[in-house]
């Protein structure tokens, strides 16, 4: 049926055809004035159409939402609001509508500009009188809602993708949502847990801590993180880390709570193992006999063990967090000067540095205790130095023993020297020229006694020197200004008979000054010259050449050399030559007399003077010994 439309403007400005005018006049304007008012003002989009879909009337909301004016739409077919594809669906719906008289469903609508939106359509057939039927459609734009729904669906998806289990509670602490991980981890199915109280998930004893944290979270409006146990469906307790947060609505009222649970069994186990090994390690550190402290690279103490407390008298609370040298002082036993350079060197150079001998630590009560110590650097994975470990032992007992040993040697050598002096002096008296009644052989015997006795005396004083060097206590040198050349000449005078005996040619370096004053311990330097000249003569062949050199070309020092063309030193002994009791085989064969102490003592003396001693030697060609003294 085609309606001829005579368009007229009514007082509302709405263009209507005859049919609609009739309809409105009769059923709308007159009989339902309020109804019209409502329809026109409604935000709901409303359309009336005949049973073929031709629009009889639309309200402003419908027209506007579809991009039209009301007057443009009257007489148009509803099909203009749908895409071709959607029309198939519409026809299907219309069939149901015609059959059942009403239909509610989602239909996509097309705007004038071709864009679409989803509507929820509430359609029904309006039959004001028999034979006169209208289709009424009321559309609600639900595209926003649909979009949200999609988002919700998506986020629900995200939650399910999470590896960590999640529970959403309402404000009554009832579970409203769990994610897939939750199901998987703890064994609950959605149906079993949704709507249940959250307390079902925890052991009873945990309730207090949960209440406390929940309160905290609500009050401070922030998330709380704590360790707890979750009960699986099988009532097994699993240690978890829980993060609980609260969601408030626009008005600031509590709406939901979210709890995340992370299984921390593995971490717990690792922690436990670490704790155990840490416990073991700290037990070792605490109970070890040595004092130990650890510093960072700024020299601040980060660990101070029990032995360190016992040795120093400081408690770790005195020390920790402060620079170690605020409290702990290492000093040299003799001078009392600070002796903690080894710690500094360790941190700066990144090497293990041992404390010099004869160092003490100043205790809290200001008394001193002898210690031996070392500092080792701590490096991180990149090899950077991040701190140091300082280990020290109370060696006061060892020092005491050393002291006793040194005193014993000193006393013993003194006691030995007295009878040796007796032998020396009486053989001297015996060999006086006035004792003419002695045979030549007897005189020789006396001479042999004298020489042997001299060797014994030398041995005793060497041993005494060695004991002083080794303990470091009494090897003190007394520096006085003296003429080194004179000292050397005196030694030569003493050796004169030996030189003559072996027919040694002795050459004194041309540039040896007549006099050279320096700060030396004359007796000790004499001993060095003596030892070196002695060796040069001893290990020279008869008629050999011994040369004394003197080099002043280097600033601030003088280098003496004693050169011989004797038996030389085998290579294998060379590196140990300055160690005590070292004698080369060829030396023993050529000259049985010798203790292997001379060079050891000479080195100690030169070192104590701040000089150096070294040598060059070729087996069978001879040796040159050098020593330097600071000027």
């Amino acid at each position: 049926m085609k309606n001829k439309v005579k368009a007229k403007l009514d007082n509302g400005g709405v263009l209507m055809n005859d049919f609609s005018r009739m309809f409105i006049d009769k059923y709308y304007n007159k009989e339902y004035p309020l109804f019209k008012f409502i329809i026109d003002k409604s935000n709901q989009q409303i359309a009336f159409a005949d049973m073929k879909g031709n629009i009889v009337y639309v309200n402003d909301s419908w027209a506007r939402n579809h991009g039209y004016m009301v007057k443009e739409l009257v007489g148009k077919n509803l099909s203009i609001f749908h895409t071709k594809e959607e029309l198939k669906k519409v026809h299907k719906f219309n069939k149901i509508l015609v059959k059942k008289g009403k239909y509610v469903g989602e239909i996509e609508h097309k705007r004038r500009d071709g864009s679409t939106f989803v509507t929820l359509m509430d359609n029904f057939i309006f039959e004001p009188k028999k034979g006169l039927k209208f289709m009424v459609g009321m559309a609600t734009d639900i595209s926003e809602y649909k979009k949200n729904q999609l988002e919700v669906k998506k986020s629900a998806n995200y939650l399910d993708l999470m590896a960590e289990s999640l529970v959403v509670l309402n404000q009554d602490r009832k579970i409203v949502k769990i994610n897939k991980a939750f199901t998987k981890l703890w064994g609950y199915k959605e149906a079993e847990i949704i709507g249940k109280n959250i307390w079902k998930l925890f052991p009873r004893r945990q309730r207090e801590i949960h209440e406390f944290n929940m309160k905290e979270s609500i009050q401070k409006k922030k998330a709380v993180k704590f360790e707890t146990y979750i009960l699986t469906k099988e009532k097994k307790e699993i240690p978890t880390q829980m993060i609980g947060s609260v969601i408030f609505d626009k008005n600031g009222n509590l709406s939901d709570m979210i709890a995340l649970f992370r299984d921390i069994r593995k971490e717990k186990l690792i922690k436990l193992k670490m704790f155990e090994s840490e416990k073991k390690l700290s037990a070792i550190i605490e109970n070890m006999g040595g004092g130990l402290f650890v510093i960072d690279k700024d020299f601040k103490v980060i660990l101070f063990n029990k032995s360190a407390e016992n040795i120093t008298g400081f408690s770790s609370s005195d020390i920790i967090g402060k620079k170690y040298n605020n409290n702990i002082k290492f000093v040299f036993e003799n001078s009392g000067n600070l002796g903690d350079a080894f710690i500094y060197n360790c941190i700066k150079k990144g090497e293990i540095v041992r404390l010099q001998n004869h160092t003490q630590i100043v205790k809290k009560d200001k008394t001193k205790v002898s210690v031996s110590s070392s500092a080792a650097p701590i490096k991180n994975e990149q090899g950077e130095i991040v701190g140091g470990i300082i280990l020290f032992y109370d060696v006061s007992r060892e020092r005491e023993i050393d002291k006793m040993k040194s005193e014993f040697v000193s006393l013993a050598s003194h006691q030995l020297k007295t009878p040796l002096t007796g032998i020396k002096w009486f053989t001297e008296l015996l060999s006086q020229e006035k004792n003419t009644n002695l045979t030549e052989e007897q005189k020789d015997f006396i001479k042999q006694i004298y020489i042997s006795n001299e060797r014994l005396i030398q041995l005793v004083s060497d041993l005494l020197d060695v004991s002083h060097i080794d303990t470091g206590r009494k090897f003190d040198i007394v520096l006085e200004r003296d003429d080194i050349v004179k000292i050397f000449n005196n030694v030569l005078e003493d050796k004169d008979h030996l030189i003559k005996e072996k027919r040694i040619k002795f050459i004194k370096c041309v540039n040896t000054p007549d006099r050279l004053d320096s700060l030396v311990d004359s007796k000790k330097i004499r001993q060095v010259f003596n030892n070196l000249v002695d060796n040069a003569i001893k290990y020279s062949n008869i008629g050999g050449v011994v040369e004394m050199g003197c080099d002043r070309s280097q600033k601030g020092k003088i280098i003496f050399s004693i050169k011989d063309n004797g038996i030389g030193i085998p290579k294998d002994v060379q590196k140990n030559l300055f160690n005590k009791f070292v004698r080369a085989d060829n030396a023993i064969i050529s000259e049985a007399d010798g203790t292997g102490l001379g060079l050891y003592i000479a080195k100690a003396i030169i070192k104590a003077h701040g000089g150096e001693i070294w040598f060059e030697s070729k087996l069978g060609k001879g040796s040159t010994f050098y020593f330097s003294l600071p000027l």
Binding site: K424, W425, F426, E428, K474
Partner: protein, 125 residues
Amino acid sequence: MVVNNKKIIIIEDDDFISRALKIKLEDKGINILIAKDGKTGLDIVKKEKPDLVLLDLILPKMSGYDVLVELKKDIVTKKIPVIILTNLNQNEVEKKVKDFGAIDCLVKANISLEQIFKRISEVFK
């Protein structure tokens, strides 16, 4: 000879040491007194006022250090030269006795009787 008729006291507890010295020095015309401990030595020095004292350090009754200090305290004995004869071969010993006023410190085992005599002669030069 400069040493002729000089009077020297040897304060030394070891008989054979003092005996060797006595033989050597008397041979050179020196008069020798001997004391076997520090206390006796000090008394004899005060009484006899010898020309020189040969003094050991480790002595019974009174140590050589104390004898030295006492001698240098007394205005009469102060001027008598003292040579220390010891086997304590240490710088610190030598420094100490020289500080106390000894003119020399000789190590017995390292010196011959002849050298001792020479040193004494130097004193009387």
